[in-house]
Symmetry: C2
Subunit: 410 residues, 2 copies
Amino acid sequence: MMEWIEGGVCAAEGFKAAGVEVGIKAGHEGKKDMAMIFSDADCVAAGTFTGNLVKAAPVKWDKRIVTESESVRAVLVNSGVANACTGEKGLKDCEQLAGKLTEVAGITRDEVLICSTGVIGATLPVEIMKSGIEQLVLKLENSKEAAQTAAQAIMTTDTVDKQAAVKFELNGKEVHIGGMCKGSGMIHINMCTMLGFITTDAAISKEMLQDALSETIPDTFNMVSVDGDTSTNDTVLLMANGLAGNPAIIEKNEDYLTFKKALREVCESLSKKIASDGEGATKLFEVKVIHAATKQDAVTLSKSIVTSSLTKAMVFGNDANSGRILCAMGYSGVIFDPEQVDVYIESEKGRLKIVENGMYADYSEEEATEILKTEAVTCIADVKMGMESATAWGCDLTYDYVKINADYRS
Amino acid sequence: MMEWIEGGVCAAEGFKAAGVEVGIKAGHEGKKDMAMIFSDADCVAAGTFTGNLVKAAPVKWDKRIVTESESVRAVLVNSGVANACTGEKGLKDCEQLAGKLTEVAGITRDEVLICSTGVIGATLPVEIMKSGIEQLVLKLENSKEAAQTAAQAIMTTDTVDKQAAVKFELNGKEVHIGGMCKGSGMIHINMCTMLGFITTDAAISKEMLQDALSETIPDTFNMVSVDGDTSTNDTVLLMANGLAGNPAIIEKNEDYLTFKKALREVCESLSKKIASDGEGATKLFEVKVIHAATKQDAVTLSKSIVTSSLTKAMVFGNDANSGRILCAMGYSGVIFDPEQVDVYIESEKGRLKIVENGMYADYSEEEATEILKTEAVTCIADVKMGMESATAWGCDLTYDYVKINADYRS
């Protein structure tokens, strides 16, 4: 059985972290802007990267390392400058940073992963960052404080640092998976990349590690509402150093499924933290589409509802303007029968059917408002077309900027 | 040669209009909520309707009338209630309203077009609206004042009424095309439908009229930024009563092209008015994509740039954060070579290349800011892939709600 624990990227044995401020973010004094994750033991690494045709230099760098390197030891992250749309120089800068880490930490250049987030088009202040690397190496520590410092250093417009960690057993051995991420939902994601870093002491082959990550991302990080935008830098990295001493996972056996289940919990927890941190968001907005004809239909419909300004405004306004949900489904491009759809809203306060067979269900507006007046609201759309389902996460729109939508019926 | 004139939907001979307040918008006293356009002579009608799978009752009604009726005389519009997701009752209500107009105006039910905009899910207050129809018929007038009253009565969250009209010659006869529309860009469009009404005294066959409209919409109304949202009620109606006395246009001859050119001017002018009226928008944001491989690529790329929160924020912040434009192009799904793209910004203040072959061009930030500090900004992206181009219209994002994006580099 799985247990939630503290420690983020330092929860797993043998992983150290650190965060420092070197001044990459002009005019943001007091904000840390460089972080490092370091493993005492060799790691196998897996990664998933942005689908944006325009890929930042660090994304190109990491793709090569993850594909070609047998072992990885460190991840270097900076916030403030994205090192995207920087051409050849961008890649040379990655090389220089990795080279510096080679000098001070005694690892090889091909064992270094690099991530950047911030302004697109600007180039990295490499010299400043080299001194930052020296400071980081001296600060490296395996502690929850160190993990938090690192989690803070990767923030851009995030209002809170985002971490999650679990422990569970594989063949009697205690195994840990911990992670941190950054990125705010909604508008923010346009400018601030979503970055996720997950560490584990599980013993697992590189191939199985990549499969576990690739099979988990579509239902977790990829289901966070981002207004359809994908940054040039989006990256999720997963490193496993094997120090838990469990029999290495080299095939899709029961241990693999146990590991993947724990990994999914960590990724889902981090994803929800990103969704809840949308600009000025007051609540987490979860959308479940059930009985869709295909998985893709379920994904498209749930994302269409969760990213619609008008459903978000409805959630913020605690106003069950049910037609808006059907409207968002209708323009998603998915084929379904609007006159068959049932829609429910749900929260700790209860559950209510607000649309029945495509029409306004006769419900109590008071009850609906009660249900919506909570910090986490779920909308369930039953399209009665098949057996597939999907869940997407977003947040509400705050008063200042959707005044008119939220107030429309008052 | 074509000349801009006043008069909106009353610019064309034989068209009367009116607007009244009957109290459909609860809590919005003083706001007109019903409008009518009436033609003294029989009209042929053309229409384009929402692509949303969920279609409002009036959309279903109008589709039938436009397809089946040889002649149309009146358009009845209400704001406040959309009559969408109202099932059979919604259509019966349309029938009743048309029936009332039959009584008081002596036209047949199949000569009445109906449009609604407002809250989805609610049903129309039919009895109140019947009295509204009586008032409207008494107020009908061919004057620019009457046209404006009608234009005001169809507004929901719009901040200004939107009209345009031109006159031109066909075979020595003076012909007029005038129109009005409602709908605000961005978030608003989620809840307030885009409605467009265009009248002309040109003599033209129903088939040619529909072709002219269908060929014009994709480059005009459909290129207004709506965050990918399509309302359940979106409708554009075009009526021609032939009173100009020009030789009827029954084939795609030179007169047809002249008529279509004038129609396009009116539609484009109305489209820009919708774009500029986005929530709190301070400027019109025009995006031209040139040298795309296909027309669809050009359309997709220009819409991706114009709807991207980060490019909109850039325009608002007068901050030429050029990488954001490449980022928005990159996630559009269109295949192009990011390292070949040039990007320019242009306004009455001048023109500046800010991206050259996919990289930050060495330009003066001061000059860029000067160019962006205007009420209408154009962004041109040259993808160097082919010969197709497209233009999309949107607006900037206002300070309150994209503070962080706009301020990011300061």
